[in-house]
Subunit: 443 residues, 2 copies
């Protein structure tokens, strides 16, 4: 069997924030260890050495974190800036409280005089007026249109996407316009794909309003829609002009959405940042309680991890696939159980448990990691098993159309070695996959 | 008024084919003149100097042209190769008779083991089996799926595009598959956009079977579909792995399609290659009569012109827009009169006459050019006026959503100066546009 394996050896090269002493643990402060893995490469394996991967392309800018809401004078501190380094497609991620009150930040990334805000019927009543104000305050030359889509993963389809094109065309928006995604991951993915396709590509800006979008989906340029047979099968790699994370928007986020986003935060720890995982083990309740400093740190550190990966592998030729830990199982749950029944992070959480179970069955990780993953997901109030209605054959048929299938071989992200290490590989014992599917679903 | 003008000064830097002595005229052989234009730049104009533009990035490969059909032993001469130089997205255009019989040429550009041929119900009975044979002969590892779309511009829409995604997903094609466009411009544009979007991008190959596609639409990576309010408003810039032009496929092309393609051939002469235009004035009847050597030369020279432009301006920031001479008026005709009533080249021909009329009204060209353009289009049996049902207001409302509108200003490609020179500009007297619209359509 052809082995399509990329073994990853990753150092935790993200600098700890200077301003977060309340969260500092000794392990957190210590210089991050560089763990080379695997010790033995197999023929056909592409080994990414620690030397390659430890060259961080993440440049943190002003590192001040803002824990206080803005006052009426709209004074505000400098945002944290994480740079996504992609040559002429590089862009900043701004992170901070009250950033939507600071119109200058947004306006510097608007090109042309016309803006289309794409949002949904849950976010629009909360933040659309504020966003339009931020786009137009002191800038009378800019006119803003908006299109409000129905909320939910089940509307992430071509019919709904066409509403964005209809609005843009009816508004006669031209190539110099800017699309703004205001909402969670579904809105960001759809608005981004619309921006990539409208007139063959216009500028766009991400304003993520969920943890899921702020730590993951708004960063890195993956855009797209679902097909009835699978998630995100139609789309584009298309980078925004900037990502503006106003952490104040999390104040209105439902608890279930909050927990869903933490599934992706936990993922970064597992695949490449053991220190971050250990920090989460100490602070998961603070995150659920929306402690502003804890959230700000988790978002920043997640974005730094994501930016580092995307900078090295924009089009997912290997390394980037590791960001999909738990997603192959998770997408099968989302597709099989019906889009929108479970939130994306909920499906990823159950999928992560399955991937970790399979890694353990293969003898690639210690049992202690299995226990720690289950424990932190339970504390985050996330599911650790798929819905009861999922069957082995449903998993198999849906996973067969996963984007990570190559020449018929399903490649998976699995943990291997000490905490914080993973592989992306099609070279695994099929029995282990079958055993995991049987253990977690009906035959 | 803001002036968005790019003045073009272009030398005819495309080397004449060595093997076409039968078509050589003294003007054709002479070293091409470099004409600097305009002499006076206006503020805000971006002047592309002749120095910039005369640096040809076109590399013609084997220049042998094949005028003889292949014999049963499938021996064949080397194809003409025109290289599109786009860095890591560079690709060859192969031009020759019988290239579909030479499977090696096609197979070297197929990645992975799975191929999806996208074609239509007119081309499939003629060339689908031959194409599948070329893809699989001596290559049992490759399996080929096909999807046959209804023929015609009116099917260049999202509903029809979804049939391609459906087929690809149902066939479980993965990221290593290759899409092959077999047909005219509509098929090439749709297949290319599907390839750009499927799993966020898979390989694709163009096998154009019409003159229109062979001289223009298959080269340069513009892909997309129509919206009911305008042509090609949804799409992507996405380059193929190669373009394979088998001139034998023109043997089955209807006369009206043949003439339609010549509208684009004539365009290259008018905007940047006066020698080529003069050659066409001598050989237009030979092209209509499908003289193999005349066709082969016209295709090669057209591809060289297109490749040269695309290499310098892939994403149409300026120069590339000049390839749209006559297209803004033409798209309005296609949209207003109903997709598919007129062929694209027929609409472009009438649109070219309108653009030339407007250029003359502005005092930018001599009357002799107006007459020569009308004359050659009439000889090519192409329309020189829009359909009678088109009104001034129809033109205006449809042109307002053209992709070349920037910040509300409609920019047009107009001829200016001696034959073979044009400008792309929004800085023109609105009265001239109105006068042209009134002269060619009802108010």
């Amino acid at each position: 069997m052809a082995a399509n394996t990329i073994s990853l050896s990753i150092s935790s090269n993200v600098a700890a924030s200077k301003n977060l002493s309340s969260f500092q643990s000794p392990a957190f402060i210590a210089p991050p260890p560089t763990i080379s893995f695997p010790a033995k490469s197999k023929p056909g394996e592409l080994s990414l050495s620690s030397t390659t991967l430890s060259k961080s392309r993440v440049r943190a800018g002003a590192s001040q974190l803002m824990n206080e809401p803005l006052n009426d004078q709209r004074s505000f501190s400098s945002p944290t800036v994480v740079e996504v380094d992609l040559g002429d497609r590089s862009y900043p991620i701004y992170i901070g409280a009250g950033l939507l009150d600071h119109s200058e930040l947004l306006q510097r990334h608007v090109h042309g005089k016309r803006v289309l805000v794409v949002t949904n019927d849950r976010v629009a009543p909360l933040y659309l007026d504020k966003t339009i104000d931020a786009l137009t305050r002191g800038n009378p030359n800019v006119t803003v249109e908006s299109v409000i889509l129905p909320d939910g993963e089940k509307y992430k389809d071509m019919d709904t996407l066409m509403k964005v094109f209809d609005k843009a065309i009816e508004s006669r928006l031209d190539r110099r316009c800017t699309f703004v995604a205001l909402g969670g991951g579904v809105i960001g993915d759809m608005c981004g794909y619309a921006a990539a396709s409208y007139l063959r590509g216009v500028n766009f800006i991400q304003i993520p309003t969920t943890v899921m979008a702020q730590v993951d989906s708004s960063v890195g340029g993956k855009t797209g829609i679902n097909h009835r047979l699978g998630k995100n099968l139609i789309g584009a790699f298309y980078q925004p002009q900037c990502v503006l994370v106003d952490t104040d928007t999390l104040n209105t986020l439902p608890d279930r959405e909050m927990a869903s986003g933490l599934a992706e935060v936990i993922k970064y720890g597992l695949i490449r940042d053991a220190e971050f995982f250990e920090w989460q083990e100490k602070n998961i309740e603070a995150l659920l309680a929306r402690d502003p400093a804890a959230l700000a740190f988790a978002i920043k550190r997640s974005c730094e991890n994501k930016a580092d990966v995307v900078s090295q592998d924009e089009k997912e030729s290997g390394l980037r696939a590791t960001l999909n830990l738990g997603h192959t199982f998770g997408h099968a749950i989302e597709t099989g159980f019906g889009y929108g029944e479970w939130l994306h992070g909920e499906a990823v959480a159950a999928g992560t448990v399955m991937a970790v179970d399979m890694s353990y069955r293969l003898g690639w990780i210690d049992e202690s990691i299995v226990k720690r993953v289950n424990k932190i997901l339970e504390r985050a109030k996330l599911p650790t098993t798929p819905p009861e209605s999922m069957t082995v054959s449903m998993f198999k048929s849906i996973m067969a159309v996963d984007k990570k299938v190559a020449d018929g071989l399903l490649r998976l992200i699995l943990l291997k070695g000490p905490l914080g290490n993973c592989v992306f590989t099609g070279d695994y014992d099929r029995e282990a996959l079958d055993a995991t599917l049987r253990a977690f679903s009906k035959s």
